[in-house]
């Protein structure tokens, strides 16, 4: 099993009446709600948490990309990952990911991922999301009906740039480059492992199967609601005659809160979970799904955005959120049982642990993070022993990696001259 401690980096200062007074937490969120001075502290707290998780035995620490979003402070996940690369070791940097269709030219992503892989000594797990409609279409202006074509072309360019050792010309429809000549290139060959976050479209299932990429369902709906979609994925894996059904072909994101007892978990974490569901997911439905973003085939399959009208969460009591699996919360034993259900039920080798939730303060988050690492993860480690050697979907760091020099102990070469 691979456990990645994932931070969405929500803004924790949305007012109590946010839902009533604001149309959306995303795209046209009231810019006055952001306070850069508070942001300074927050970014550092959030990076502290990621680094802390990196010391506890999590396999990876994870970041992702959102724009103009009250629950995501990372327009550039690569910047955060670069910071983490210097202060962590022995933990994968999971960038899930950079929205490759949004960069002009998308070669930028190939370069930045190569830099991250070099700085971290081969610890990069790369993610290539199409991006939500909010990010890709409404914030970044990509034409919905052309988004997937643009994405496919960006993917082709990045893969070729990583693979080839001679300058080549790339005559794409969206990107034309005379001299593609990647410098630097990633340590991991032929390329860092690639995970693709998806929302259930058949095209994305097939894309992962065809390229041996791991399919990640980053839902906020929890593992019980997520089962249908993951079943569809595994059914597709079977239909397409994939060479194996390794659980590492799949990943799932889950909110997790651990305390000493179930009652303590509710007392400590319920307000922060409510903050997330009731404020952070308050997305104006007009931004959920730009017409043309989702393919007709996918709509006909009944796959809708998790932000579409009627799918958002209302004022659910804690008990409901726990009972229906939105949140896995409780004592280490309660959490272990449910995590086992999740892992086996969904057949996922990669779990993205969402442990910083809503406006949860740092100390509570560290408490939950440590309990999960010490009392839950060890009991879940070997659920798929037959695939223990499957290294296709995870990073392969250099055995001997550089260590950043201590501040103040830098050699002052040439200082006397």
């Amino acid at each position: 099993m691979r456990f990645t401690w994932f931070n969405l980096m929500p803004w924790p200062y949305l007012p109590d009446d946010f839902r009533e007074k604001n149309r959306s937490v995303w795209v046209d969120i009231d810019a006055n709600l952001f306070d850069p001075v508070k942001g300074h502290k927050l970014y550092n707290d959030y990076m502290d948490l990621l680094e802390y998780a990196g010391t506890l035995g999590y396999d990876g620490i994870g970041v992702n990309e959102h724009h103009q979003n009250g629950y995501g402070l990372m327009p550039s996940p690569n910047l955060i990952a670069a910071g983490l690369a210097r202060r962590t070791d022995n933990v994968a940097l999971v960038v899930l990911g950079a929205s490759i269709a949004l960069y002009n030219p998308p070669l930028r992503v190939a370069e930045e991922f190569a830099m991250l892989d070099c700085i971290s000594g081969g610890r990069l797990v790369a993610g290539f999301p199409v991006g939500t409609s909010m990010d890709t279409n409404y914030c970044y202006g990509t034409i919905p009906g052309l988004t997937r074509e643009k994405y496919a072309e960006a993917h082709e360019l990045i893969r070729r740039a990583w693979a080839e050792r001679e300058p080549f010309a790339f005559n794409g429809r969206y990107t034309k480059l005379r001299y593609v000549n990647l410098w630097p290139r990633p340590i991991q060959q032929p390329h860092p492992p690639i995970h693709i976050p998806g929302g259930g479209s058949l095209e994305t299932f097939d894309f992962c199967i065809d390229n041996t990429y791991s399919y990640s369902y980053l839902s906020f709906g929890g593992y019980i609601r997520g089962k249908q979609l993951m079943d569809n994925y595994w059914q597709r894996v079977a239909e397409r005659n994939a060479p194996d059904t390794s659980p590492y072909r799949a990943g799932f994101a889950q909110f997790i809160c651990v305390a000493e007892t179930d009652a303590e978990a509710e007392r400590l974490y319920a307000p922060h979970v409510h903050y997330f569901y009731n404020r952070c997911l308050h997305v104006y439905p007009g931004f959920a799904d730009a017409p043309g973003y989702r393919t007709i085939k996918t709509i006909q399959k009944g796959v809708l955005s998790q932000y579409a009208p009627g799918t958002l969460f209302q004022e659910h009591p804690w008990k409901d959120l726990v009972d229906n699996g939105h949140v896995i919360a409780g004592s280490p034993e309660t959490v272990r049982q449910k995590m086992e259900d999740l892992i086996k039920g969904l057949r996922v080798g990669n779990v993205f642990c969402l442990m910083q939730i809503g406006d949860m303060p740092k100390d509570k988050c560290m408490y939950s993070t440590r309990l999960f690492a010490e009392k839950v993860i060890p009991k879940l480690r070997n659920l798929f022993p037959e695939y223990a050697d499957d290294g296709r979907f995870w990073c392969h760091p250099l055995p001997n990696r550089a260590v950043p020099a201590e501040l103040g102990q830098r050699p002052l070469v040439g200082a006397e001259a």
Binding site: N137, G145, L146, P291, G292, I299, P309
Partner: protein, 258 residues
């Protein structure tokens, strides 16, 4: 009006045809042709009307090869050619007005009469056009109609978004139609037309609903400024869907062209 199909270079195109007189080609807006069928019926008493659907609209085949403005412009000329029409009265509403303008600018010697009904295609920073791609169905009437209540009734007749089956069909239609429209209208309905309008040689009339809240009437002046000799007809008590709300006035304005 009769719904027919004609083969073109890229895809079979569905079009409405009816009436007698001078050939007139009507290009519909992003909402489709349905709301204008009554108006087209009235037009058919004076003109031989052809109203082709943009690929993906109604039951017509989609055309992924249409990606940018020039593709839409040339494709629509392909349709006119396939229909065997020479020098039609070219009429376009909203998105269709944008396409018609481009056609007349691209081939100025092939269009001698042009009617632009609340056309898209220009952008004034001081008068931003609301984002139709981020609107919920219930938001639309206030931008489209002078008489919101009557407009809403017509727009939502038979609509029940609470019915999952209907919702799915509605979403598919939206993805097909607005997905195609988005290629030239998203995220800003402007693709450089302002720099090409000077090429238009046709006698041009600009028809606008005085209470247009989607593309406000100030855009009429912006078009007029760039098209030599263009006339403006402002229709009182009409919104963006001026031909739906005031068909007789629009037919009269069009008749003054020829």
């Amino acid at each position: 009006m009769e719904l027919k199909t004609i083969a073109t270079h890229r895809v079979p195109v569905r079009y409405y045809e009816g009436g007698q007189g001078r050939p007139l080609v009507f290009l519909h807006g992003a909402g489709g042709v349905e709301a204008d069928l009554g108006f087209l019926d009235s037009l058919a008493s004076r003109f031989h009307v052809y109203a082709p659907l943009v690929p993906g609209y109604g039951d017509s085949e989609e055309c992924p090869e249409l990606r940018e403005m020039l593709d839409f412009t040339l494709h629509t000329w392909d349709v006119v050619d396939a229909l065997g029409i020479k020098n039609p009265v070219l009429v376009g509403f909203s998105m269709g007005g944008m396409i018609a303008s481009e056609m007349a600018a691209l081939a100025p010697h092939d269009v001698s009469q042009l009617a632009l009904i609340a056309p898209a295609g220009l952008w004034l920073d001081d008068h931003p056009i609301p984002d139709i791609f981020a609107m919920m169905p219930y938001d639309l009437p206030k931008y489209l109609f002078y008489d919101e209540e009557a407009g809403a009734k017509a727009l939502t007749a038979g609509m029940d978004l609470g019915d999952p089956k209907f919702l799915q069909a509605f979403l598919v239609q939206n993805a097909r139609q607005l997905g195609a429209a988005g290629k030239i209208l998203f995220p800003i309905p402007e693709r450089g037309l302002a720099g090409r309008l000077y090429r238009i040689r046709a006698k041009t009339i600009l028809i606008w609903g005085e209470s247009d809240k989607l593309i406000p009437p100030v855009y009429a002046q912006a078009f007029q400024k760039n098209i030599a000799g263009a006339d403006v007809v402002m229709v009182p008590q009409a919104g963006h869907l001026v031909a739906f709300e005031k068909p007789a006035e629009v037919v009269a304005a069009l008749s003054s062209l020829s």
